[in-house]
């Protein structure tokens, strides 16, 4: 028998949605914002596993859509609010398939006049992730402050500080798991904070080269094949059927360095084809560490 408590995220949605709807009804000068993406991704370690027996790779198809409004509040400040929907279809591990409706809000500020003027951007987003494997369902929140500056016609640099929270809907308290394996809590409740430094270099009118480095710390979820394992009382582990009956997810404190590099080819003024490679190295307490190599191909549309 499994006892499940549900976290109630609706008040949070209400707090976000109400101001957005109020703004959308205001008689300000605004413009519609539409973004869409179709992506193919390969991740060589979707379990965030350390040992070869736990490392599983997979490909996935992703689709993202968002629509909303952009308001020019003053000559230096703008506000964007969008409703977002993303969908992911995993090729091998269908338990990770998910839909994620959400909202995003961003306040943009420019510290001067002209293309080269420094800018600031404060943004927040929240989305509810509904997985085929219910145990992963939950709310994802993110807050970010970004600053940047363009240097001439070609180089655009930025720095971002970002915090992310994942709040699962279910907290599993299974007496059998607790007494037998000390499985007693929610491994999918995570939080991270990180700093990103990066930039975009316009090689030509159409070709842009992008590079980012992120240093991140916080908690991550790693999944292992737990057959025969007994966990300590203080471990935070949750059955993770997305990868099979014997798999459990656990939460670990790590620091992660992320290197991202890619190219973006402008198809026209509103669309681009992109190829991005990401290397992630996560290092936790003891000898725990793992690596992700991720290749993402995407077509982005923005209007």
């Amino acid at each position: 028998m499994c006892f499940i408590e549900y976290n109630h995220g609706r008040p949070v949605l209400h707090r976000v949605l109400l101001p957005v709807l109020t703004l959308m009804a205001a008689p300000a000068f605004s413009d519609a914002v539409t973004n869409a993406a179709a992506e193919f991704e390969y991740n060589d370690n979707i379990t965030n596993g350390q040992h070869s027996g736990d490392v599983l790779d997979d490909t996935s198809l992703l689709a993202n859509m968002s629509g909303g409004e952009y308001w020019t509040l003053t000559d230096r400040i703008g506000l964007t609010a969008t409703a977002d929907l993303s969908a992911v279809r995993q090729n091998g591990y269908s338990g990770l398939d998910h839909l994620a409706p959400g909202l995003s809000v961003a306040l943009h500020g420019k510290l001067g006049l002209g293309r080269d003027a420094p800018w600031l951007r404060l943004s927040g987003n929240g989305a509810w992730y509904k997985y085929r494997s219910d145990v992963r369902d939950g709310w994802h929140y993110g807050l970010a402050i970004a600053a940047g500056k363009r240097f001439g016609d070609r180089l655009d640099l930025h720095a971002i500080y970002r915090v992310d929270y994942v709040e699962p809907d279910q907290i599993i308290k299974d007496p059998f798991l607790v007494s037998t394996y000390h499985v007693h809590s929610d491994a999918f409740r995570t939080h991270t904070r990180g700093v990103t430094l990066g930039g975009v270099f316009s090689a030509t009118d159409r070709l842009a080269i992008l590079a980012d480095w992120t240093h991140q710390s916080g908690t991550v979820t790693s999944t292992i094949n737990a057959a025969g394992l007994v966990f300590d009382e203080e471990d935070i582990v949750t059955p993770d059927p997305a990868f099979g009956a014997n798999h459990v997810a656990y939460r670990a404190e790590v620091t992660t360095d992320i290197l991202t590099g890619g190219i973006s080819w402008a198809l026209d003024q509103h669309a681009s084809f992109n190829a991005v490679y990401t290397y992630r190295y996560s290092d936790g307490e003891g000898d725990f560490s793992y690596i992700n190599n991720i290749v993402n191909l995407s077509i982005l549309y923005s209007y």
């Binding site: 000068f29 605004s30 413009d31 973004n35 952009y70 020019t72 003053t74 000559d75 230096r76 703008g78 964007t80 943009h108 420019k110 006049l113 002209g114 293309r115 003027a117 800018w119 951007r121 943004s123 970010a144 970004a146 940047g148 363009r150 016609d153 070609r154 655009d156 930025h158 971002i160 990066g198 975009v200 316009s202 090689a203 030509t204 009118d205 159409r206 842009a208 992008l210 980012d212 991202t260 890619g262 973006s264 402008a266 198809l267 026209d268 003024q269 509103h270 669309a271 681009s272 992109n274 991005v276 993402n296 995407s298 982005l300 549309y301 923005s302």
Partner: protein
């Protein structure tokens, strides 16, 4: 003697009344036609610099449509008044830092009541402080004889008074200096064609297409 003076005078009048045309073809290094190239013919003969009616210094317009300046390049005669109507639903903030004309139109919708007067020859680069990808150019010509190439890379300056001209071309992405394109051309009673091969730089317009992970101002 009296008759011969009269005849000579009439010949001078007839010569100055002759008009020809200058046909210009601009191609890039790869042979493709180059649109938006301004062609300027500066008269070298005294008295030839008379404003033709078609190139008057009257009202000119640079629109903002779909968050772009339209046209991308607008040649005007020095002294022209240019209006900047905003035909988008969003407000724009048009500015220029160019030495030929520094100005700023505070955030606005519709058409500002007052035009901007461009009285100093040179290139004026336009931007919008809300939409960084918006870029446009106003070429302020000291000569009334100018034209701009269209999609086929061709342009025509018509009814050009006969005489000698200093002809040069300018394009936003040209890799060389404008004066390096100059050549002296003699216009008579008829059309002549001048061709330019114009090397272009690889990047000239700020990118509007999306970039993964970009968190820019807008």
């Amino acid at each position: 003697m009296r008759w011969s003076l009269i005849i000579a005078g009439n010949l001078v009048v007839m010569h100055s009344a002759l008009a020809g045309g200058l046909h210009v073809e601009v191609r890039a290094s790869d042979g493709k036609p180059v649109a938006d190239t301004v062609v300027v013919a500066v008269p070298l003969d005294a008295g030839a610099n008379v404003s033709p009616q078609t190139q008057s210094s009257g009202q000119k317009v640079v629109d903002q449509i779909d968050k772009q300046f339209v046209p991308y390049v607008k040649p005007v005669l020095a002294g022209s008044k240019v209006y900047f109507p905003n035909k988008d639903n969003i407000r724009h903030q048009v500015y220029s830092f160019s030495p030929a004309k520094r100005f700023e139109l505070p955030l606005y919708a519709g058409t500002p009541a007052e035009p901007v007067i461009f009285d100093k020859p040179g290139v004026v680069t336009l931007g919008c402080n809300i939409h960084d990808w918006m870029i446009g150019y106003i070429y302020v010509s000291e000569s009334p004889w100018f034209a701009i190439t269209v999609e086929d890379g061709n342009a025509d300056i018509i009814n050009l008074p006969a005489g000698h001209y200093h002809v040069r071309i300018w394009h936003p992405a040209m890799a060389q200096k404008e004066e390096q394109t100059a050549r002296n051309v003699e216009i008579g009673d008829g059309n002549i064609t001048q061709k330019w091969m114009l090397p272009l730089s690889s990047s000239a317009r700020p990118r509007r297409a999306p970039v993964p992970g970009a968190t820019g101002y807008h």
